[in-house]
Amino acid sequence: MAYDGYSQLKVLVIDDFDNFRMTICRMLQELGVEDVETAVNGAQAVRFSRRRSFDMILCDYNLGSGKNGQQVLEELRVNKILKHRCLFVLISAETSRSMIMATYDYEPDAYLTKPITSNILRQRLDRLLRQRQELLPIYDALDEDALDKAINLCRTCIDSDSRYTSQCQKLLGNLYLQTGAHAEAETLYRKVLEVRALDWAQVGLAKVKQAQGEFQMADKWLREIIVNNPLCMQAYDVLAENCKKLGDDDQLQTVLHRAVEISPMSLVRQLHLAQTAVDNNDLITAANAWRRAVRLGQFSCRDNLENHLNFARTAAALFNEDVQLAQDLSRDALRVLSEIPQRFEMTSEVEAQALLVESQVLAGQGQKSKAEEILREVESTVGEEPAGLSIDTQLDQVVALKALKKDIPAKKRLDDIIERYREDEKALVKIDRLLEEPLSEHNRKQAKRLFPNHLGVHLNLVQALLGEMEEFGRDEGYMDLCLATLKKVGCRVTTGHAQYKRYLQLQDKVKNLGLKQEGTRDVE
């Protein structure tokens, strides 16, 4: 069945090769399209799409230097430039799995593999455009944000047993979830699942359970979906969300880790993993994830200065845990820092931050005099009054001092900062990373997880709990946590470990406290 509306379409063709662009344009003209615009790179394509609304965009994956096709789609989606009524067709010669998986995340309407002949193009476009024609009222309603109208249109379409019932069910399920119509969503997904166990309906049903607060059930179902189809990325995303709701940061990291193994080119998941790993004090995972995020971020609209700084910060911090890996990463970190001025708008604060982090990395590498020189340079420009700077910059300065073993000025600075931010829970969470014992409520609760390379954190927890018990009296829950934590640390700590002495001291203290309390009880 042919489509007969080609002459009315506004089409944008994006490719860096003149030849291919011309071939596609010629094919489109043969189909009857009169209004074809072309763009030679991603930036131009995004500009054109902002300027006018197209009915269809045909975009090659490989666009030479600059954004690739997936990043064009990403920017159009993230900035809500692409309307529902516009079809986005991605064309590619390469079909590497990770590339396709990364592209799926942004849901192109179709995926065309080269070689493309006029017959192939005609067949695919006929099909896509016929579907679009029938669903256009729904798309328009979505573009107007008229969700109730879209819901009614979807229902009508499904009731009339339309050829596109399946598409309408997918749209309708999402709309129900968006509008909080959980019961309706559940009925819809269950009806689909009665016929066939389709991934999208299973994930949909898990989302319903999540929205209804049944996190355990959602967890179980999502894991079952993943067992059956380990490449269902949407299931990982919903599961990650679910782990967060369950407050299980360990599982959250495991899920994200697995997800980026399967689809390594997703910037969003790499960033999520990096942030989660930092919260979990797993610097090795964090550094690697940030390194990949920086690389993937090139030309992406989600690229962000913080990712670059965070990568370098983590690489510098890693010198305390894994010198070998830190050496390896720090070279890359210095390069990333040196590229900041070309990639981001520089303010005096950004400049100071980049220099402070550079100083940290250099100090880790053992380039003391260079690191000191840079630190002095920053201090001479920002002066002794750092209050106008962000908490991050102030902490960067403390870390730089620490990296250079200037412990006394570092401590003084840190004490000042703590004084200034005592009431600011968010800042305290950040400050905690530099302390022996956590100050923020949040971190006291979180510190109990064990990461083999960060025994200090667990000892910090024991110390904090001891402090509390010494002040307010023995607490059974605290005591159990102390003993369990020490046991975990005991399995990992070796006599040569930097934390070994502290471990022994804390163990003694806990034992004494335990005996003392036991003793008191005896007297009673």
């Binding site: 998986m101 192939i120 894991r223």
Partner: protein, 246 residues
């Protein structure tokens, strides 16, 4: 959900234990490059044929050979890559509801030039409203391979047909591709022959059949999995390839 494996999330990757050179990985990435190159080659070839149409029968034949051989390399490489991914459990199976006619039309459009240059007429017999559940990329590859193979062995005609068989839970989609050639060799008609390496006598590794069988097996419902079947003396007098999907 107590054991490590049952939750589907394991931290360690399979490749961890493999520190040496993994030849299959080398092969796979090289196959990937080759496939892209052949893709470009096919594209240019298409352009050449379009811009300088064949002047006589001899040229038409030559174009046909070029087209056929390049398509064959392309589909063999795609198969190799797919089988590699299947073995590493990294083959995404994306089962969804599709119209069978769309699948057929896509493959016919893709192989239009091949049939044109070889003078093969294709008869499409499929209800436009017939829909079923399958991974359209994988089943598309299977149909593509069979079509490319048939283009070589058929005389003048091919017939594509799809219909539902059975009732209720036993309902299956049957896709059949019939030709008017000499039919499949007797050895291929037995199920066992469709495994790799069974037939070392000729130049045919039966990779295509192996791939088709694997893809069919990846489509399961109510405890039954898909299967393929080869027959002779079909509706056009030649062989018939049948693919059953539950």
């Amino acid at each position: 959900m107590s054991s490590e494996n049952s939750n589907g999330i394991n931290k360690g990757s399979k490749n961890d234990r493999d520190t040496g050179l993994d030849f299959s990985l080398v092969l796979a990435s090289s196959v990937h490059d080759m496939k892209n190159s052949v893709g470009m080659l096919l594209n240019s070839l298409e352009d050449v044929i379009n811009s300088t149409p064949a002047q006589n029968q001899e040229q038409r034949c030559q174009f046909g050979v070029l087209q056929y051989e390049a398509s064959r390399i392309n589909s063999e490489l795609i198969q190799l890559l797919s089988i590699y991914r299947m073995q590493n459990n990294r083959m995404p199976v994306h089962v969804d509801e599709h119209f069978v006619i769309d699948l057929f039309e896509e493959q016919l459009a893709r192989n239009y030039m091949l049939f044109e240059t070889r003078g093969v007429h294709v008869d499409l017999d499929c209800d436009a409203d017939l829909n079923w559940f399958f991974d359209s990329d994988l089943i598309g590859s299977v149909v593509h391979n069979v079509l490319v193979n048939c283009a070589r062995y058929t005389h003048k005609a091919l017939r594509l047909n799809a219909e539902l068989e059975g009732q209720g839970k036993n309902r299956v989609l049957c896709i059949s591709i019939a030709d008017d050639g000499r039919g499949y060799p007797a050895a291929m008609l037995t199920a066992e022959a469709a495994s790799i390496g069974m037939d070392n006598s000729g130049d045919n590794t039966h990779l295509g059949l192996f791939f088709a069988r694997k893809v069919a097996q990846m489509h399961c419902q109510h405890g039954t999995c898909g299967r393929i079947q080869l027959e002779n003396n079909g509706p056009l007098g030649g062989g018939v390839f049948k693919l059953y999907l539950p």
